[in-house]
């Protein structure tokens, strides 16, 4: 065994010639990865993490090119290899587990032959029994039963597919594994399982590992060294301990402090409590009456009843992993998706049976912030169209100048410069700016209820706290009640007055956040909280307890009945 570093990047620069001139994606990157070390690349989208990894694989997308520098893989100069030599190097010496790897399996092939393809391409044809032995070994090593190889990709869950991709990556014992956000599409529970598999297997074959990601918590739990990238430059590099405990660069400090923790300091500063807008009716603002939603034979939401009074502004959080029915609830509240059974009442009016005038009034009073800020603006119009149009439509505009003034005030309130932002086209703004504009839009219309469906899950980590405090201000300063739908327990802990945890369409635990998230009682809530990766070296998954067993918890969660942890004034959840 040689002591040579697995990967040495010297003065690496990568550039993309574009119609607007040459863009430097990576600038003078110097990095060494030792054998058996796990190195995390962390940074925002566009910081050059993936580009660097692709350059190591010689798989840069056209027209990108390595402008200068060298890439050395255990003594081999990667940039000097011919196309055929590079082909042989890929997988056998460097394995790349791409982003969204679960979609990279061939849907019409069984798992086994997909694993065999890699072996045959590098080592030539061999006995079927030998192939089978090796693929079984690879599958077992990632914790999958050997018979998984005979299944088709669609028969596996997301986490299993991700593990198959890891098996595919390690089947030839590479010197270096590059995992590009391997868990970005998975929920926290599965994320933990997959990351532990990846770390175990890496330790077993003793290769180097590059883990690309944007989640400081996940990095803290998984890697030895951390490289922080910003705009193509390596701004900080060191052991995880150094970086987490004593970050030097302000950007790293931002990244660490932007991860909200359960308990600890709040990133919000509640200043004043605004009164809710005066209401003419004594009916609750929003009431669910035994609402149930079925998609075919699947029940997305089991009968649920609650009433949100709305006399004092409140934030109600609905928490759950994907498939828990939380987004279905959101679209039912907005009237986009009629319930299969039961009624949704807005100030005593059935949302499904409104006439045109009532419907316009309902729209004016119930607004939303959606998950994807990129899709929310019509690419044909300047962004102010999205703010101006509803303002006029709801009869709020008195004059052109009044509209303009309202837009500018709303932009100011969310921390955007109206002169810079309002007259641009959507593609000229970043995701964070767009999402803040959507919040500004909600502010301008001052609805009585805002439904925020995963408002920050597609925004870069450093901006999440800012946008959440913008949303919190809507309640705090403008008296808007908010239903906050999220998978992120830590933010729900801070912003909400009441939390409902949803699991397979049932409420499993509900109550004030300090109790539900602070001291969870239902096994499912406990599992969720213990699966969150914290950016804290002393706090491993499962809280560091040795007897922590996620499988048992999950099995218990199926059986345990719902836990109700006390009420808050103004919100009543019917107990089932």
């Amino acid at each position: 065994m040689s002591d040579k570093p697995v990967l040495t990047l010297r003065d690496l620069s990568i550039e993309f010639p574009t119609p607007k001139g040459v863009v430097q994606a990576v600038k003078n990157l110097d990095l060494t990865i030792q054998k058996g070390r796990r190195v995390g690349f962390i940074g925002e989208s566009g910081s050059g993490k993936t580009t660097t990894a692709l350059a190591v694989m010689q798989m840069l997308a056209e027209p990108g090119r390595v402008a200068s520098g060298s890439i050395d893989l255990v003594g081999t100069d990667v940039l000097a290899l011919t196309e055929e030599e590079m082909r042989k190097t890929r997988l056998s010496r460097i394995a790349y587990i791409p982003q969204g790897a679960m979609n990279s399996l061939n849907p019409v092939m069984r798992i086994e032959p997909q694993l065999w393809d890699g072996i045959i391409a590098h080592e030539g044809h061999m006995e079927r029994a030998e192939l089978k032995r090796r693929s079984d070994a690879a599958l077992t090593s990632v914790g999958l039963p050997a018979h998984t190889g005979e299944l088709f990709p669609h028969e596996l869950s997301g986490g299993m597919k991700q593990r198959v991709c890891i098996a595919l990556g390690i089947i030839l014992n590479p010197d270096l594994i590059i995992a590009d956000e391997p868990t970005s599409a998975l929920d926290v529970v599965t994320q933990r399982q997959v990351m532990q598999t990846l770390n175990d297997i890496q330790a077993q074959i003793g290769s180097g590992l590059i883990l690309i990601g944007h989640d400081m918590g996940l990095m803290a739990q998984s890697v030895d060294e951390l490289a922080v990238l910003k705009d193509g430059e390596l701004v900080e590099h060191g052991t995880v301990k150094q970086i987490i405990e004593a970050p030097k660069h302000p950007y790293t400090q931002d990244l660490i402090s932007s991860v909200p923790l359960v308990g600890g300091d709040s990133f919000l500063n509640p200043e004043r409590n605004a009164e809710a807008p005066k209401r003419d009716s004594s009916e609750p603002l929003l009431r669910f009456e035994k609402v149930r939603k079925d998609y075919g034979a699947v029940t997305a939401l089991h009968p649920m009843s609650f009433a949100l009074q709305g006399d004092t502004p409140q934030i109600i959080s609905i928490v759950g992993q994907s498939g828990s029915g939380k987004s279905t609830m959101g679209s039912i509240m907005l009237g986009f998706n009629p319930p299969s059974q039961g009624r949704v009442l807005f100030e005593g009016q059935d949302v499904a049976a409104m006439n045109a005038a009532q419907s316009l009034e309902f729209r004016k009073n119930v607004q939303a912030v959606f998950q994807d800020p990129y899709a929310c603006f019509n690419p044909f119009y300047r962004v102010n169209h999205a703010l101006k149009f509803p303002f006029k439509q709801f009869g709020l505009a008195q004059s052109e100048a009044h509209t303009q003034q309202a837009m500018e005030e709303a932009c100011d309130a969310v921390g955007l410069d109206p002169d810079l932002v309002l007259s641009r086209y959507p593609h000229q703004l970043s995701g964070g700016q767009r999402q803040r504009l959507i919040v500004a839009r909600a502010l301008m219309l001052s609805p009585k209820l805002l439904i925020a469906d995963e408002p920050v899950s597609m925004v870069d980590a450093s901006l999440r706290a800012t946008i959440l405090s913008n949303i919190y201000d809507l309640k705090d300063k403008y008296g808007i009640s908010i239903l906050y739908i999220t998978h992120d327990l830590a933010t729900a802990y801070h912003v909400s007055d009441y939390v409902m945890v949803l699991y397979k369409g049932h409420v499993v635990e509900a109550g004030p956040p300090k109790e539900v998230i602070g001291q969870p009682q239902h096994p499912y809530t406990q599992l969720l909280i213990d699966s969150i990766p914290w950016p804290d070296l002393d706090r491993a998954w499962g809280g560091g307890r040795s007897d922590w067993d996620p499988e048992t918890l999950e099995a218990e969660a199926e059986r345990a009945s719902a836990v109700y942890r006390g009420d808050v004034v103004g919100f009543e959840l019917a107990r089932v």
Binding site: P17, T18, P19, K20, G21, V22, V23, Q24, P63, L334, F336, S359, L360, R363, K364, Q367, A368, F370, D372, Y374, A375, C376, F377, N378, P379, F380, Y381, A386, F389, P390, Q393, F394, D412, G415, L416, D417, L420, V421, H427, Q428, L429, S430, G432, Q433, I438, L463, T466
Partner: protein, 320 residues
């Protein structure tokens, strides 16, 4: 002054600091190229079609349109600089020669080429309008209406238009250009309908349409103000494709001797040439010139279509 965040400049493009002369030249070329509507394919295609229209307009002023009538000129004269089988040279009075009925070829194409183009444009304009209307209705309203429109379009797409049109036209006898365009329009609405329906279905799920719904927008507003502008590149592309189809269909009918009997069109000229044995008599200019013009027209349409592809699909733009 409020404290603005720092990511305002995140979307700004980076500008290179110093460049060599070659790079500057490339940057200039790129900048010109940056306006997708100014791509060479589109410019060439439009120029070719405009040339044919200009030929029709200017020709009417500079040349005598009366020469399209039978017997207005000597028979079977070759173009200028050629000799026909009887040894007659081409004359300046009829620079492109004359046909077997004593009609001047230049006058024939001056009148005929715009007629052919007119049929194509009118037919696909009507076809597209039907397509937009049905496509939007099917995609947006869904349910029973969608089923009906989709089945209708799918059934119509399998019927060969020429077969039906031949029957129709023989029944009608002589038709005007407009009626022929109307008949052809009945066969070019299916693919725009399917295309627009598919686009509308995917757009209906998009965030900005949901936002518009939240803003209390009416169905009409969502269809025509939010969705339609984003469909423009597709609509253009589909329009050009159906102009091509319409012209092919119209020429096909004319070459069979159907279609307008007394109005000169390129297809009818070819029909008469074939009928009079122009191929055996080596009167190549009689069928050759209209064929050449048709070819130019199709090449022009093809270039426009390719050019529009680049407009609607930025990935096709190359940094040449």
């Amino acid at each position: 002054m409020p404290n603005y965040s720092t990511d305002d400049n995140a979307a700004e493009a980076e500008t290179p600091v110093s460049m060599t002369r070659a790079e500057r030249r490339q940057a200039r070329r790129i900048r010109r190229f940056d306006n997708p509507w100014m791509n060479p394919k589109l410019i060439w295609g439009v120029s070719l079609l405009m040339g044919i229209i200009a030929l029709g307009l200017i020709g009417r002023v500079l040349w005598d349109p009366e020469l399209v009538f039978t017997g207005s000129a000597p028979l079977k004269l070759p173009p200028l600089g050629f000799e026909n089988l009887r040894g007659q040279p081409g004359v300046l009075d009829h620079p492109l020669g004359t046909d077997g009925g004593g009609r001047d070829m230049l006058a024939l194409i001056i009148i005929g080429a715009p007629n052919t183009l007119f049929v194509g444009l009118l037919a696909s304009l009507i076809g597209m309008s039907i397509g937009i209307f049905l496509g939007f209705s099917a995609g947006f309203l869904g349910g029973r209406i969608d089923d009906t429109i989709r089945v209708l379009a799918d059934v119509m797409i399998t019927i060969p238009p020429l077969l039906i049109l031949v029957v129709f036209q023989s029944a009608f006898g002589d038709v005007t250009l407009t009626i022929m365009a109307l008949l052809i329009a009945g066969f070019v609405w299916q693919s725009p309908t399917r295309l627009i329906r598919a686009q509308v279905l995917s757009m209906k799920q998009s965030g900005y349409v949901q936002m518009a719904q939240l803003s209390g927008a009416s169905t009409g507003h969502i269809m025509f103000k939010e969705m339609l502008p984003n469909l423009v590149p597709y609509l253009f592309g589909s329009f050009i494709a159906s102009v091509t189809t319409s012209i092919v269909t119209a020429v096909g009918l004319e070459v069979l001797g159907l279609g307008p009997q007394r109005i000169p069109t390129l297809g009818r000229t070819i029909y008469e040439a074939i009928n009079a044995g122009a191929l055996i008599q080596n009167l190549w200019w009689w069928w050759g010139i209209p064929t050449l013009l048709l070819a130019t027209m199709f090449i022009g349409l093809l270039l426009i279509n390719l050019g529009l592809d680049e407009v609607s699909n930025p990935r096709l733009r190359k940094l040449s």
